[in-house]
């Protein structure tokens, strides 16, 4: 099971965090990861957890998994997630994540739920998101009428 997932910039600014197990102690040393060089190993031991991290352009993706979990598949899960973001936003950049925080978070929810993989098919995740977007647009057009009704 994944314990948490963090996205942060090279400056160490947190862009997205998702904790799958309530932890009181969230002091996560981004420094360790930032000192990481590309040729180095993507896996680190941190307390009793394993941290898998990967850098895409200026963004670091970090996942903490439990001792029994498979590191490589987690690495690829990060990649799949980045692919999905790419497909959805065209070419993702840090700004997309800052300004479309809710979308980024929904896509993550579709891939990962409660720390476990929900669906790994690119298509079905995108379908779910597109469907949600459609719903959103549909509702937005007759906004006034429904809005009044809803509020009435």
């Amino acid at each position: 099971m994944m314990r948490f997932m963090l996205l942060f910039s090279r400056q160490g600014k947190l862009r997205l965090q998702k904790w799958y197990l309530a932890t009181s102690d969230k002091e996560w040393k981004t420094m360790v990861v930032l000192a990481h060089k590309p040729k180095m190993c993507s896996f680190l031991e941190w307390r009793d957890l394993k941290v898998v991290c990967k850098r895409y352009a200026s963004l670091y993706f970090c996942c903490a998994i439990e001792g029994q979990d498979n590191e490589l598949i987690t690495l690829e899960l990060i990649h799949r997630y980045v692919e999905l973001l790419d497909k959805y936003f065209g070419s993702t950049c840090e700004l997309d994540i800052i300004f479309n925080f809710e979308k980024v978070s929904f896509i993550l929810d579709e891939v990962l739920m409660g720390g476990d993989v929900q669906d790994t098919s690119g298509k079905s995740v995108l379908k779910a998101i597109k469907q949600a977007d459609l719903l959103q647009e549909e509702v937005e057009s007759p906004h006034s009428v429904l809005g009044e009704m809803g509020l009435a």
Binding site: M1, L21, A22, K39, M40, C41, S42, F43, L44, E45, D48, G67, Q68, N70, E71, L72, I73, L75, E76, L77, H79, R80, E102, S105, F106, D109, M113, G114, G115, D116, V117, Q118, D119, T120, S121, G122, K123, S124, A128, Q131, A132, L135, Q136, E138, V139, E140, L146, G147, G150
Partner: protein, 902 residues
């Protein structure tokens, strides 16, 4: 509040934002939770899959107990309902998983569980992926309920593995069919032992082989994602193979595959291969195969640029070490230590120390290694490590000379680490005499060498050195004047540090006041230390955390018989009940009366020598015993218990019978009526030693369980049982002991005993364990009898007779006339009576042949006064024993106990 309103909105956008807000910002104990729950409930009941999914996501994200209470019953229904959409099923499965992890008691098991298993057959791969996660978690708690999932998982896995790379459409990831699902299925199978059904097993083995074969095929894509996904499955397959640990063929293939990865250019793969090999090394089938890669691993240790990879390499070297390659590995690790990262130095030091000890064939190599360790990384050598080397040197007389010579040479280096000075000080103090014959290391040279380091050392080291000096005075009388000069120097006698000052003052006085004999006794060589688990190993386990501990245990399982930790080699005296504290007790009680003309301080001084001398290496010595001494220090030094402490309990072998039933236990018990330490029981497997001390109505007993075999005892559980009403009479607190006793090792159990009221039967000690798979059990009587709580009372003849008359009721008296079983020796009889606990009163009985004693039995509830008279008749070889106490059953019981002793 606004967010809750948004939740109940019909508009998707608003609902979505409401849920997002709640998932991100609401904490689980907010008071809004009830309102939120209500909105969620409505959404779950709606038939709109999008809304249902949103609601499920929200539950999973918050995952509080309240939510569990509200929805744990609904979600299983949604999960197995025939008409639920696939996406809803996926969310429901994971949502349920989350709730189950948060509060397992809330999720009701029921008929839905059977249907969940069948989700493994679902058409939709996404549903299967989600369901496997749920089942894996559930089956850990209830393996039997989910047993059917094995065959389903195997057939699913084999379909995926054998499918062409395009069959699974969107679930194929860079030409690898459904990697996530495969990994999860393999994970699920690791919850169970190998399948029993031959057909299923055959199919599974076929799958595993396919995966191993695929690793050899040329990659279908150059992308790193392809190889990562493929290797993720491969590593998971290997962990399943290791988990089964029953297919030698597969294990060796796995090992070869990992061997290839060791030289792969991907750092990640090298890292993982090293990690997996660590576990492979502990399997008997693949241990040899792992060892063939030793050169690669050593090379990795030297050349890897990433510290975490080097650390894995060091771990693997530790795991693959055995007697055949120990020298090579230890020397490589020592070399690595010189350049190792500071963060992992201490761990490496511990590992080297353990390996050196475990696989030492000749102990001079061991001593060399540890001294090298101190030289190279002195700062990282913890107390445990150098304590251990001292323990081993003390216990093995064949290395003592070598050790003394080596430390002497090491100390000659211009700059040597303080730990080296400590070890050197201790060893020369004990065994310096062994090298004194060589003029290059004559006593004055030894002394001046040590003293040249003195001023540069910390207080603790200087204190140790002072103890060494006083030992020198004993070993080499010719150094006495020099050393006394040093002790007398103002810098010692008026040292600002209390400890140093006290030592200097005491040692100086001791050296000038005590006669050579007393000095020789006081400063005798330290007795061998009791064998027990190496404290270094314990420390490494602590460092590595609980998970790694088992791996370490695995690592040493097959070799425990070679362990110095009390392996088969030690002399009998070190295996049996440890004598140090008995010696101390004996010595400590003896000198004061003898040295009575000496100033009053002498006794304190001696006592101090004993509590300080060994304190130079505080946790080295038998710490519990030390605590034991100070807490239960006998009120008067001439206390009979202390005098009687058997100086050589080891010389008292128990009977060789196996598995004694209660009758023999009685006999064993009788041996302990008049003494407090010795071997309680011994057979071919197990030796149980006892040492105890009693004061007033309290007692403390140490039980030492020694494993005499070379095989580990498992499920070892000694237990104290109070039959019948004993529970109200005697309170025994036991400390738990470790469930495993390694071959040749000894574990110790402490019992705190409180006598509540008088009692007649002793508690039972029941020992159970598994030896080589066969359960063993053994019931003994614990040597706690009522006379242990005797307090000796001195009284004049007049008082005695007055009390004797007071106890004249017929029932208060118990008398027994019996034949002597042992030769009638007055001194032996005296000692036995003292050991029994009563005071011996002279000049009371008109007949000097007779013995008269008095004492009080202390219990929490009451005290029982007790008078006794023993009349030996040498001609008839008979005794008459009369006891009078204020309680009738006590009289009879004591009479019976004592009568068996003569």
């Amino acid at each position: 509040m606004e967010a809750v309103n948004l939740l109940s909105s019909n508009k998707y956008t608003e609902k979505q934002i409401g849920y997002l807000f709640i998932s991100v910002l609401v904490n689980s104990n907010s008071e809004l939770i009830r309102l939120i729950n209500n909105a969620i409930k409505n959404d779950l009941a709606s038939r709109n899959p999008t809304f249902m999914c949103l609601a499920l996501h929200c539950i999973a994200n918050v995952g509080s107990r309240e939510m569990g209470e509200a929805f744990a019953a609904d979600i299983p229904r949604i999960l197995v309902a025939g008409d639920s959409m696939d996406s809803v099923k996926q969310s429901a499965a994971l949502c349920l998983l989350r709730l189950y992890k948060a509060s397992p008691d809330l999720v009701p098991m029921g008929e839905w569980t059977a249907r969940v298993v069948h989700l493994l057959n679902d058409q939709h791969m996404g549903v299967v992926t989600a369901a496997v996660s749920l089942i894996t978690c559930l089956c850990k708690k209830n393996p039997d309920d989910f047993k059917t999932c094995i065959s389903l998982a195997v057939s699913r896995l084999s379909r995926i593995v054998s499918s062409a790379s395009t069959d699974l459409q969107d679930y194929t990831y860079y030409f690898v069919p459904a990697p996530w699902l495969s990994v999860k299925l393999l994970r699920l199978l690791q919850c169970y032992p190998p399948p029993e059904d031959a057909a299923v097993k055959g199919r599974l083995v076929e799958c595993l082989e396919t995966v191993l074969n695929k690793a050899q095929e040329p990659p279908k894509s150059k992308k790193v994602q392809h190889s990562n996904a493929k290797n993720a499955i491969l590593f998971e397959t290997i962990s399943l193979i290791i988990h089964y640990d029953s297919e030698p063929n597969l294990l060796v293939r796995a090992c070869n595959q990992l061997g290839q990865f060791l030289q792969h250019r991907e750092t990640n793969l090298r890292y993982l291969a090293l990690e997996s090999m660590c576990t492979l090394a502990s399997s008997e089938f693949s241990h040899e195969a792992v060892k063939t890669h030793i050169d690669t691993v050593i090379n990795a240790l030297k050349t890897e640029r990433d510290v975490s990879v080097r650390q894995r390499a060091a771990d693997l070297l530790y795991a693959m070490c055995d007697r055949s390659n120990a020298k090579q590995i230890v020397s490589e690790m020592l070399r690595y230590l010189e350049t190792a990262d500071y963060a992992i130095r201490e761990e490496i030091v511990l590992k080297v120390a353990i390996l050196a000890e475990k696989y030492a064939v000749d102990y001079s190599w061991y001593v060399d290694t540890i001294l090298n360790l101190i030289r190279i990384a002195g700062d990282y050598v913890s107390e445990e490590v150098w304590y251990r080397v001292l323990q081993i040197v003390t216990n093995r007389d064949d290395v003592q000379g070598y050790a003394a010579k080596t430390v002497f040479e090491a100390l000659q280096a211009p700059a040597c680490h303080e730990n080296m000075v400590k070890v050197g000080g201790y060893i020369l103090g004990e065994f310096g005499n062994l090298i004194a014959g060589d003029p290059r290391s004559s006593p004055p040279v030894q002394f001046s060498l040590l003293h040249s380091k003195f001023h540069l050392c910390s207080v603790a080291t200087r204190a140790l050195l002072l103890s060494t000096y006083i030992k020198f005075i004993n070993l080499f009388p010719e150094t006495k004047a020099t050393i006394q000069g040093v002790l007398r120097a103002g810098s010692q006698l008026r040292n600002a540090d209390v400890e140093l000052q006290q030592r200097a003052v005491e040692y100086l006085t001791l050296s000038s006041v005590a006669s050579t004999d007393v000095l020789a006794t006081v400063l005798e060589e330290m007795p061998p230390f009791p064998e027990r688990e190496s404290s270094i190993l314990a420390k490494l386990k602590r460092k590595k955390g609980p998970g790694a501990a088992s791996a370490l245990d695995d690592g040493r399982r097959d070799v425990s018989s070679n362990d110095i930790n009390g392996g088969v080699e030690p002399t009998p005296s070190t295996v049996s009940t440890p004598s140090p504290s008995a010696d101390l007790l004996g010595l400590r009680a003896a000198p004061p009366p003898a040295a009575s003309p000496a100033p009053a301080s002498t006794r304190n001084l001696l006592v101090d020598v004993f509590s300080d001398g060994p304190a130079a290496q505080p946790s080295l010595g038998p710490t519990p015993e030390e605590a034991f001494l100070s807490e239960l220090e006998p009120p008067a030094p001439e206390s009979p218990m202390a005098l009687l402490a058997d100086p050589a309990p080891a010389a008292d072998p128990g009977p060789e019978d196996i598995g004694p039933p209660i009758p023999e236990a009685d006999e064993l018990l009788n041996k302990f009526v008049c003494k407090n330490s010795g071997v309680l029981f011994e057979n071919q497997l197990l030796q149980i030693g006892v040492k105890s001390e009693f004061r007033q109505n309290l007692g403390r007993m140490y039980l030492f369980y020694g494993n005499k075999t070379s095989v580990q005892f498992q499920n070892f559980s000694p237990m104290v049982v109070h039959p019948g009403e004993l529970q109200t009479q005697l309170a025994v607190q036991t400390k738990r002991v470790a469930g495993q006793v390694d071959g040749g090792a000894q574990v110790q159990q402490v019992l705190n005993i409180e006598c509540l009221r008088d009692f007649l039967t002793p508690p039972l000690l029941s020992v159970r364990f598994r030896y080589g798979g066969a359960p063993q059990s053994l019931t003994l009587k614990l040597p706690v009898t009522i006379n242990k709580f005797f307090q000796p009372t001195e009284m004049a003849a007049q008082d005695f007779f007055q009390r004797w008359k007071q106890l004249s009721l017929p029932l208060q008296e118990a008398q027994k006339i019996f034949k002597a079983n042992h030769p009638m020796d007055a001194e032996v009889t005296k000692a036995k009576l003292l050991g029994f606990g009563s005071a011996l009163l002279d000049n009371v009985d008109p007949n000097p042949e007779n013995f008269v004693g008095a004492g009080i039995i202390q219990t929490k509830a009451l005290q029982v006064g007790c008078l006794l008279r023993l009349e030996p008749n040498a001609q008839a070889q008979m005794y008459r024993l009369t006891l009078r106490t204020s309680k009738e059953p006590v009289s009879r019981h004591l009479c019976e106990l004592l009568a068996q002793q003569f």
